[in-house]
């Protein structure tokens, strides 16, 4: 073991992760940053901008966690990962959070040694076709060639859907989403299938986005959310409650711009507990009372995040639908801070 410590850096190995027994929070405090696994480039979720800094709701979530745990949203290092690598990287402590639009499934939760901390985005797999095909519903896709990328539940949902409806299809499966898009553009397939959010993002990369139609059907449940490694409950709670804080803030009407003022003068007990002027939510998590305030100051509440990266303020223009708050007809619901 000692030999490795000396040998490995000598060969140029960068030892990113270190022994995890100390607990993730202590480890990252010691290092001064946390490592966040993101996608290799999916607009709206995590994609590098022209200066190489990561933009998107997944990336901002990690910034919120960094703000909560380390006091500053800048103390994050991003690591782009393919689906294949993603879980291994998390299992072996190379990254501290996986925030990479991965679907929460039973198998992943139970057999891969990871824990999902919650749901950041309710997605579902959909279809995109060329408008000129005249197809209006996924039920008309019998016999179609479908381009998908390997490495997620996409292939399985696709086959389930076509089987359920007694339709035939030809899967054309690529390793990378760039290649799926190239093949679809070249006319290899009639249909491009992936999570709907992904379809919106990929459609932007096509020469004439308007020529392509995203069909209304959603054929699967794809709850996307951040995951951490099993066995560190303290860290799990911090990540989980960062997510709840973002959602809770929207429900309480706390925004990036009004949080400062609210902290000073509000008498609403829920808000007072949120901003830490009442109760000991922070201490329970092993943090200071201001933890949630920092998260909102850093990235805004969930609604702000959504509109900025995915919704009306973004190029994707995805409607909120399922991703509204529970009291507005959506599914986002944060347990109370109490």
């Amino acid at each position: 073991m000692q030999i490795l410590r000396y040998l490995v850096p000598f060969l140029g190995v960068a030892l990113f992760g270190t022994a995890s027994s100390a607990g993730t929070l202590d480890t990252i405090k010691e290092k001064g940053w946390l490592t966040c696994g993101v996608s290799q480039g999916l607009p709206g979720f995590s994609a590098p901008d022209s200066k190489g800094s990561w933009v998107g709701i997944d990336a901002d979530f990690c910034r919120a966690v960094a703000a909560v745990a380390l006091g500053s949203p800048d103390k994050v290092k991003f690591r782009p990962l393919s689906t294949k690598e993603a879980f291994t990287a998390l299992q072996f402590g190379e990254i501290h959070i996986l925030s990479r639009n991965v679907t929460w499934t039973q198998t992943r939760d139970s057999a891969l040694g990871v824990n999902f901390a919650g749901i950041l985005y309710y997605d579902g797999q959909g279809f995109m076709v060329r408008r000129k095909l005249g197809v209006k519903s996924a039920r008309e896709l019998d016999g179609a060639a479908v381009c998908v990328n390997s490495g997620s539940t996409t292939e399985l949902n696709l086959s389930d859907y076509f089987r359920t409806h007694g339709m035939k299809y030809t899967p054309v499966v690529f390793e990378k989403s760039d290649e799926v898009l190239s093949a679809y553009r070249a006319g290899r397939c009639d249909v491009f299938s992936t999570d709907q959010s992904g379809l919106y993002a990929q459609r932007l990369k096509l020469p004439k986005a308007k020529d392509h139609l995203i069909l209304p059907e959603i054929i699967s449940k794809e709850p996307l959310g951040p995951a951490v490694r099993q066995g560190d409950d303290k860290w799990f709670n911090i990540v989980r409650w960062t997510l709840f804080a973002l959602v809770g803030a929207e429900e309480l009407g706390i925004t990036k711009s009004n949080i400062e003022a609210l902290t000073q003068k509000t008498s609403n007990p829920a808000i007072r507990r949120f901003v830490g002027t009442e109760g000991k939510a922070g201490a329970n998590l092993g943090l200071d009372p201001e933890w949630a305030v920092r998260a909102i100051k850093a990235v805004g509440n969930y609604g702000e995040l959504f509109e900025k990266h995915l919704g009306k303020d973004s190029r994707l223009k995805i409607s909120r639908d399922l991703n509204r708050l529970w009291n507005k007809g959506g599914l986002h619901y944060a347990p109370p801070i109490r």
């Binding site: 689906t83 294949k84 879980f87 291994t88 299992q91 072996f92 057999a111 891969l112 040694g113 095909l133 896709l141 019998d142 016999g143 179609a144 060639a145 381009c147 390997s150 490495g151 997620s152 292939e155 399985l156 696709l158 086959s159 389930d160 076509f162 089987r163 299809y169 030809t170 899967p171 054309v172 499966v173 690529f174 390793e175 290649e179 190239s182 093949a183 070249a186 006319g187 290899r188 009639d190 099993q230």
Partner: protein, 355 residues
């Protein structure tokens, strides 16, 4: 001795780490995943496969596809490679030059780039299914693939057909042995008639999005085969050239003195002796080709790597078992090719050369 001890200690250390890691992480292990339901579809399959089949069957689909691509490409690469290698000796200056340029171009560009080129360039050049190129109403070419008629055999007809093929083969071999080749044509006709009796031909036809009926050679398969065989052919051509140059001058002079025509000199004197040099090197090329067929993963052809080390690995996450099986399979294929080429070398290429 010290070195051996260090190596063993290292291996034990790695193995121990692995076991610890697997235990600590709660990652499933073992091979039971092979029996579970696949749940995904595969576009090209030589055996019946549906989403309800097992993962083990998906493995076989991938393996058979790997073997299919490799076998077709080996044959094409050999033919093309020999043609180009021999063309480099052509009396026609232009032909010789073109052959040289071919070799120098193809072998100095990465195969993966060539695969992308063929795949995307060919896809873009071809029309959609509704504007397919139509050859006599039997063959259709579009960006979904090359559609060809398929022979469908009635139940039990397969055995009749097999019998007919075996009979025809035996008869043909007998004819050839006795030097009567003309009457063999009659046998071919006989075989054809027996085919008509037991089979029917399914012709592709446009329905909905795509063609149904017939068989389709997918663009992935076609691009992969073209890229693999044209790339390997460049190397084979060089090997053939080296082989031909290794044949002593005296052999060529002897053939000339006997006034053997040029092509007979090549066929009966030069090539058989060149094989002595060619075959071992050719074996390496066949091995490389088979291994290179794994680049299928880059263009969505469902070979072993793409199906098994790709989709199945993503679904089950059991990296050790899956990568292990994949490597073991390639190793087995490699050893089998090497072994059979060795036998071929001893029985055929080295004929008469060991006293």
């Amino acid at each position: 001795m010290v070195a051996v001890a260090v190596v063993i200690a290292g291996a034990v250390w790695l193995f121990g780490n692995t076991l610890d890691n697997l235990a600590n992480r709660g990652i499933a292990s073992g091979f039971s995943f092979l029996k579970s339901t696949a749940g995904f579809g595969i576009s090209t399959s030589l055996i019946d496969f549906s989403e309800a089949s097992s993962i083990g069957r998906a493995f076989w689909v991938g393996l058979l596809n790997t073997l299919l691509v490799s076998a077709i490409s080996v044959v094409l690469a050999t033919i093309l490679g020999f043609a180009i290698g021999i063309a480099r000796f052509s009396k026609n200056w232009l032909l010789g030059r073109v052959a040289t340029v071919y070799v120098e171009t193809l072998r100095n560009i990465p195969l993966l780039l060539q695969i992308f080129f063929w795949y995307f360039a060919v896809l873009r050049a071809l029309p959609g299914p509704r504007q397919s190129y139509d050859l006599a109403g039997w063959f259709f070419l579009n960006n979904r693939g090359f559609y060809i008629p398929k022979l469908e055999i009635i139940d039990g007809g397969g055995w009749v057909l097999l019998g007919a093929v075996v009979m025809a083969f035996l008869a043909f071999w007998q004819c050839r042995h006795k030097g009567i080749s003309r009457s063999c044509a009659g046998l071919a006709v006989l075989l054809f008639i027996s085919l008509l009796a037991v089979g029917s031909v399914s012709v592709p036809a446009l329905t909905g999005f795509n063609f149904t009926g017939g068989t389709v050679l997918s663009p992935e398969l076609v691009a992969l085969v073209i890229a693999l065989s044209s790339y390997t052919a460049a190397f084979i051509a060089e090997i053939v050239r080296a082989g031909v140059q290794s044949v002593p001058r005296g052999q060529i002079e002897a053939a000339d003195a006997l006034s053997l025509p040029d092509k007979d000199r090549m066929r009966f004197v030069v090539i058989p002796q060149a094989l002595r040099v060619i075959v071992p090197l050719l074996t390496n090329q066949y091995l490389n080709l088979t291994k290179n067929s794994s680049l299928a993963a880059a263009i969505a052809f469902p070979d072993l790597v793409s199906v098994f080390a790709g989709t199945v690995l993503n679904i089950t996450g059991q990296a050790i078992e899956i990568i292990g099986i994949t490597m073991a399979v390639y190793l087995t294929i490699s050893l089998t090719i090497a072994f059979s080429m060795n036998i071929f070398n001893r029985t055929t290429a080295m004929r008469g050369l060991s006293s």
